[in-house]
């Protein structure tokens, strides 16, 4: 693929050179999410499975009196769910799903820190050589000799909800 096509997604950086993010770990990979979307980081809560729901959002939790879905983004990428550890946390995010602000929890193996990522260190997702679906990833950012993955949650969730809708219609 030519360099020209492989651009960093502008909607993420939006003209900014730096991004404030929260880093966390899932299945041994380091991820980052824009800090502004993060509402809260919680210890694991009792989960209520929702029979018939997609495994990716297979349960709900009680977040301060609201019932919100708990997503396991591993499953969105088609990977095995892992068992929880003492470091497991839930990150609660507010995302626009179909233009409606929606609270969602994401189960993570470990939450690290709030830090700043630089655009100059970013790279678009390679089309091969990665175990994650490339369209679910906004970009990769090099830092301290490792890559941090910024997932495209909007795509992940809307792809899932589209698929859900199809399943419903079908």
């Amino acid at each position: 693929m030519s360099e020209a096509l492989r651009k960093l997604p502008e909607h993420l950086w939006d003209g900014r050179e730096e991004l404030e993010v929260l880093t966390f770990e899932i299945a041994g990979e380091m991820f980052a999410l824009e800090a502004v979307h993060v509402q809260e980081i919680l210890d694991l809560l009792p989960e209520t499975p929702v029979p018939g729901a997609k495994p990716f959002v297979g349960s709900v939790i009680n977040f301060r009196g609201k019932v919100i879905p708990l997503a396991d983004i591993r499953l969105a990428f088609g990977m095995e769910a892992t068992t929880t550890t003492i470091d497991s946390r839930i990150i609660v995010l507010e995302l626009d799903i179909d233009d409606e602000p929606t609270l969602t929890g994401i189960r993570t193996d470990k939450v690290h820190e709030v830090t700043t990522l630089e655009k100059s260190h970013g790279e678009p997702p390679p089309s091969v050589g990665m175990r994650w679906r490339p369209d679910f990833i906004d970009c990769l950012v090099r830092r301290h000799g490792e890559f941090i993955i910024i997932p495209n949650l909007k795509t992940i969730f809307s792809a899932q909800s589209e698929r859900n809708q199809q399943a419903q219609q079908g």
Partner: protein, 707 residues
């Protein structure tokens, strides 16, 4: 803290005002001499014009101005109220809605048509009174011209000119509320010759000055031939909050110069204006003439003000606070959390032996319970809000269909959750239209059938055990069963000559695409059928019941839960999960005996008092993957005509709870209508009984196909 969009606030307010105006107009249509309604309509229109202009809805303000002028004439007795006029203004209110919805749209032609109609109505009404009011009505500016010409005339005219000394002050926050003192002064000046002096004494030092507050009082010397009423009219909309002193200075018999006598330090009590002053200074007959009109209006003015004050009192009693629904939802969430925290507290208190702690815990329990009850009541509004709209609808339908229709409403004070009310509006409109269009016969037909020529539509609401029953009843021809059957057969809904119970036959009208209207009218047959009604009511977890007697009329009852926010449910356990079954659907609970359990392996039926009831094993449906409890329970539920048993592991008990909607990410899961938070903070899902049964049937079919 976010502030609501002022335009949106205006729109809500305008919608309410228009509803009030409409309701006033409809009342007026019943009794054309109802002065109170004339005033109410006028006030509504005036306020709409004023706030419309304030929020930049210029077209609306200009258009409303004409209607207001017309009503002003009625109010002043220049033109009597007529049915034509009321109908014209009713039509105009629709146009005002359009002007509010699409302020920039192209409304000129429509405006012109309506105004022509309005003018014609006013002219026709004003005819007996002579040409002058007609002219005045045709050009709304005319009254102003008359006023100024009267003032310009200045020579002693038939009606004497009186000089009033008016002193008024408005509350400090008047401007924040949208009152413009300049407008008031302009209106005063239009009454005659006015000298205006501002009293600046109340203006504070600059440090204390609040830019949006009003500190200025005014003194106006007004020479006018208008009655004292006219002055009160200027202040009619601010009367309740302001201070107003009106004193008669001197009747002007021969000259209307802004008079020197204004220096006379004779502030006379407003209550007894003419009597002491007039005779003392002048003894001309002009004075007597002047005194008479001045004195005469004093009484009505006073009583008018008294009425205004009484109105204000009533308003205070019924004062409402407009709160966005989402804020109420937030509050509800907080209360929900509090209830959960409280139940944890009482658990702790129960374990501990500390009496003080127990006492506190009991207090908190009582308080949070009360708080929850209050919270529920906050969301309730009377159905009058909903029914009010139907008066207009029926009025229009009567004109459209050429039938005489009377709407009778009952139980308007019945309270229902606001969200329910809003979602009921469309189905009800449809049902009422249906009754008017299909149900009621024409006047001739009715006479031939020995009924009164006026058809009646009854709309009633009442509460009954956690539900509100809304009934739409007409005394028309009733549902024609043959036609329903023929239609159903021709569209393949039922087999030819299939035997159906009467109730089942009547329920056919709720099938999609079902319309017995022989011709497509403006009212029905546009593809929006009763199936939409049915779907909406289903979504509200309500039921529809149809009763129809040929020749006597039909009655459709909707039973809707009082609130969408709370549910009475039966809490059950299936595997490790807890679920709520809506209590309204539950018929009975029984134990699934071991023998029956074993016997039912091949077929999922139990016999219940000699009838077979199919059942669904929720453990299988939910794929719990746990070992079943030794004593399985069956919860028998009814969905419509069907009875189905749900096999669960344990019945925990009654549970009244706040319903939380499922998130968008779970919209594909139709077996649950929502979720709820239990006392221990856990989440339980609420079963959607109808969908669950459908899902169970699918699974059965699947198993049969596989097995």
């Amino acid at each position: 803290m976010s502030f609501p969009d002022p335009i949106a606030v205006f729109r809500t307010e305008a919608a309410e005002l228009l509803e009030q105006v409409e309701s006033g107009l409809l009342d007026l249509n019943h009794d054309l001499s109802d002065k109170e309604q004339v005033d109410a309509v006028f006030r509504g229109l005036h306020t709409l014009k004023g706030s419309g202009a304030m929020f930049g809805f210029e077209a609306l303000a200009a258009f409303t101005h004409h209607c207001e002028t017309a009503f002003d004439q009625v109010r002043k007795g220049i033109v009597p109220a007529t049915h034509d006029l009321v109908t014209a203004v009713l039509g105009a209110t629709d146009h005002m809605r359009a002007l509010i919805e699409v302020p920039g749209g192209d409304h000129d032609a429509a405006s012109e048509t309506l105004l022509t109609r309005l003018r014609a109505a006013v002219a026709a009404a004003g005819h007996p009174a002579g040409a002058a009011p007609q002219a005045a009505a045709a050009t709304p500016a005319a009254p102003v011209e008359t006023a100024s010409s009267a003032a310009a005339g200045q020579s002693g005219q038939k009606s004497g000119i009186v000089t009033y000394k008016i002193r008024f002050s408005l509350p400090q926050n008047a401007m924040a509320n949208g009152t413009n003192p300049i407008g008031l002064l302009d209106e005063l000046a239009e009454l005659g010759t006015a000298t205006i002096r501002a009293d600046l004494s109340r203006i504070p030092a600059i440090d204390d000055l609040i830019a949006t507050d009003l500190y200025v009082c005014w003194e106006v010397e007004l020479s006018t031939d208008k009655p004292r009423d006219a002055i009160d009219d200027v202040f009619i909309f601010v009367m309740d909050e302001m201070q107003l002193e009106v004193t008669v200075v001197e009747p002007q018999g021969t000259t209307a110069e802004p008079p020197a006598p204004q220096a006379t330090p004779a502030p006379v009590a407003a209550a007894a204006p003419a009597a002491p002053v007039a005779p003392s200074t002048q003894s001309t007959s002009a004075a007597a003439v002047a005194a008479a009109p001045a004195a005469a209006p004093a009484a009505p003015a006073a009583s008018g003000r008294g009425a205004a004050q009484a109105d204000a009192k009533q308003q205070k009693a019924a004062e409402n606070v407009r709160v966005p629904a989402e804020r109420l939802d937030e509050l509800m969430d907080r209360v929900g959390e509090l209830v959960i925290a409280q139940s944890r507290l009482s658990q702790l208190a129960g374990v501990s032996g500390d009496l003080m702690l127990r006492a506190v815990s009991e207090d908190v329990e009582r308080l949070s319970g009360e708080l929850r009850d209050t919270m529920m009541v906050l969301r309730m509004v009377p159905v009058a809000q909903l029914f009010g709209r139907f008066r207009r609808l029926v009025h229009d339908l009567a004109i459209e269909t050429g039938k005489a229709i009377e709407l009778v409403t009952e139980g308007e004070t019945t309270e229902v959750d606001k969200s329910v009310i809003e979602r009921l509006a469309d189905p009800l409109v449809h049902l009422v239209r249906n009754s008017c269009d299909h149900g009621l016969e024409s006047a001739d037909e009715r006479r031939a059938a020995g009924k009164s020529p006026t058809g009646r539509i009854f709309l009633s609401a009442r509460q009954q055990a956690g539900e509100v029953i809304i009934t739409i009843k007409d005394d028309g021809r009733g549902i024609n069963r043959e036609r329903v059957r023929a239609k159903a057969e021709s569209s393949g809904l039922i087999a030819a000559n299939a035997s159906l119970s009467d109730q089942d036959l009547l329920q056919l009208i709720f099938q999609p695409g079902f319309s017995t209207a022989q011709q497509v009218t403006n009212l029905s047959g546009r593809g929006v059928g009763m199936d939409v009604v049915k779907r909406t009511i289903d979504a509200l977890r309500g039921t529809i019941n149809v009763v129809s007697r040929p020749g006597e009329g039909s009655e459709i009852s909707l039973a809707i839960p009082l609130t969408l926010a709370i549910i009475d449910g039966l809490l059950v356990r299936v595997g490790s999960g807890r679920y709520v079954i809506p209590l309204s659907a539950v018929e009975e609970c029984l134990e699934l005996s071991v023998e029956e359990d074993m016997r039912s392996r091949g077929r999922s039926f139990i016999s219940l008092r000699d009838s077979l009831v199919p059942f669904i094993r929720l453990r299988d449906l939910f794929r719990t993957g746990t070992k079943p409890d030794p004593f399985q329970k069956v919860v028998v539920i009814s969905t419509g005509a069907e009875r189905v048993g749900l096999v669960v592991d344990q019945i925990i008990g009654d549970h009244q709870t706040v319903i939380k909607a499922m998130s968008k990410l779970h919209h594909d899961v139709v077996t649950f209508s929502g979720a709820t938070i239990l006392g221990d903070g856990g989440v339980a899902l609420i079963l959607d009984v109808a969908h669950l049964v459908a899902a169970g049937q699918q699974q059965e079919a699947h198993l049969r196909a596989a097995g």
